[in-house]
Amino acid sequence: MKEIRTFTAVQLAEKIKQKEISVAEGVQASLEQIRSVETEINSYVTLDEEGALKQAGEVQKKIDSGELTGPLAGVPAAIKDNICMEGMLTTCSSKILGNFLPPYTAEAVLNLKKAGAVILGKTNMDEFAMGSTTETSAFGITRNPWNLNHVPGGSSGGSCGAVAAGECFYALGSDTGGSIRQPSSFCGVTGLKPTYGTVSRYGLVAYGSSLDQIGPVAKDVTDCAAILEAIASYDSKDSTSLNREDTEFTSALKDEIKGMKIGIPRDYLGEGLEQDVKTSVLAAAKALEEKGALVEEFDLSLVEYAIPAYYVIACAEASSNLARFDGVKYGYRSKEFEGLHQMYKKSRSEGFGPEVKRRIMLGSFVLSSGYYDAYYLKALRTKALIKQAFDRAFETYDVILGPAAPTTAPEIGKSLRDPLKMYLGDIYTVSVNLAGLPAMTLPCGLDAKGLPIGLQLIGDCFQEKKILQAAYAYEQTREWKSSPAAEQGIKGLKEKNMFQSVSEQEVGA
């Protein structure tokens, strides 16, 4: 039989249902893999081995009694560390929340538990989801399971790394400006950011509230659809929650693409896009065309304005949201201070890392009197124009296709020195959050260095099914490739790395 860890979530649940594999065996498969690769990968901030085995017993009983019958019942999952779980450390990978034990559980996690998930632990991320590499975590970097010298992307780098390395069967991430899609692309896994309001934000530590959405990170399109179906719900505790009735997302898993109109924004293929990425993405478009989709290029427009508008809006909201960290109610408090005001300032200055401070400063500035109109309102007006550009595109196309990121995963240590350059890597993802759209990324090839390339499919609001259908149809044209870490454990990683450094020496000579 195949190694248990190589099954997708839905495949494992089926084996559990057929009594070929027990829930505990599934959990053990993940734990074994964690023991094998975690010292190198570092996907998890908190691992709850004991809790997972206890949950396994409980879930197994519910499956045996017929209480749990869904497509994810009994499958081990990991949760990004900005999503609260009662009594389990939730740090946002920040020193300021280093000891935070939430008194309640996020709605999305409750929904997963209702579907029979076994939660293994909490995954690493950029501090407060601010970053594109998972290098801003206060608890160490996460390494890419395809090549340890490269970042997994971010901010959901731990979730995507864990899925890619076989350290869990699926994970939840959050996406404010591409934080599910970009690391999914870099790690060769499948990630989906739902229409804004589809998944409750209750229990998600807020970064940019008008942009944040929780979504699935998984091995394939089928898993993504099943997970989204489980976590999507109307929740009166989130005032932006939508009451949708069209959330049977697995119904879209059909290998039919004839007549679907797919548009490729010419603006997504221009300067800055690596040749290997462009080639793979266009080959994916070709594959869909050959299956009967109508594919053409078009001008989306305004693409270059999405990043400046995004950073103004996200930082403004962050500066307001992160005002709650004051050293009084929870989290870190400075040891030495004089008076209340200095306690606030010192606790925050010692508790937050450089990237978080940078964004709070910029956000405070653009919201300050005298600059509010020129920066913040200007960005909100730009957001309206970007939304209109997408509205026009979706009058013609069912799905927009393009790359998830202009490059594959950068090397560790190369991104943080120049923040602005790092922000420019978000060019294909941030506009989706500004417009509230659903979008997913799935693997579409490897570059010359053997690093995964991600294909992004964007739909109009509420049209997750169209992107899932296009993604599913595309997925049928290629074989799933797992990372060296998932394939051969630590041995695969080490061999891969030796190969890498030798070939780099050759290039140098």
């Binding site: 309001g197 009084v328 008076g339 200055s349 450089p354 300050s368």
Partner: protein
């Protein structure tokens, strides 16, 4: 606060501005951090100025993609008294309350 200073079309963030933003952000920055913050902010604002190429005069600011309405419910307590649980995470607690440094003499 007045017009931001510019030199050859590039933003110049003064010590005064960075001090003021530090107060708004409730952050205490070291001298080195302040210099970094100035440079970062200058670069970001130069970049953000790109938005001025767009004519947005007739466009309303869009805060949310979908209309956001107040969510009303009956004024009934549903979550019970969770005081002890909520206080568990507080750095300092006294007599069932959060403890903070004295604010008035």
């Amino acid at each position: 606060m007045g017009e931001l200073e510019k030199k050859q079309g590039k933003h110049i963030i003064s010590d005064e501005t960075i001090e003021y933003v530090g107060i708004l952000a409730k952050l205490e920055l070291s001298l080195e951090e302040k210099e970094h913050a100035k440079k970062d902010m200058e670069e970001m604002l130069d970049y953000i100025d790109k938005l001025n190429e767009l004519d947005t005069a007739g466009t309303e600011p869009m805060s949310h993609v979908f209309p956001v309405n107040n969510v009303f419910r009956e004024d009934v307590v549903t979550n019970g008294n969770d005081r002890e649980n909520m206080l568990k995470n507080a750095p300092e607690v006294k007599d069932g309350s959060y403890q903070a440094p004295k604010t008035v003499e």
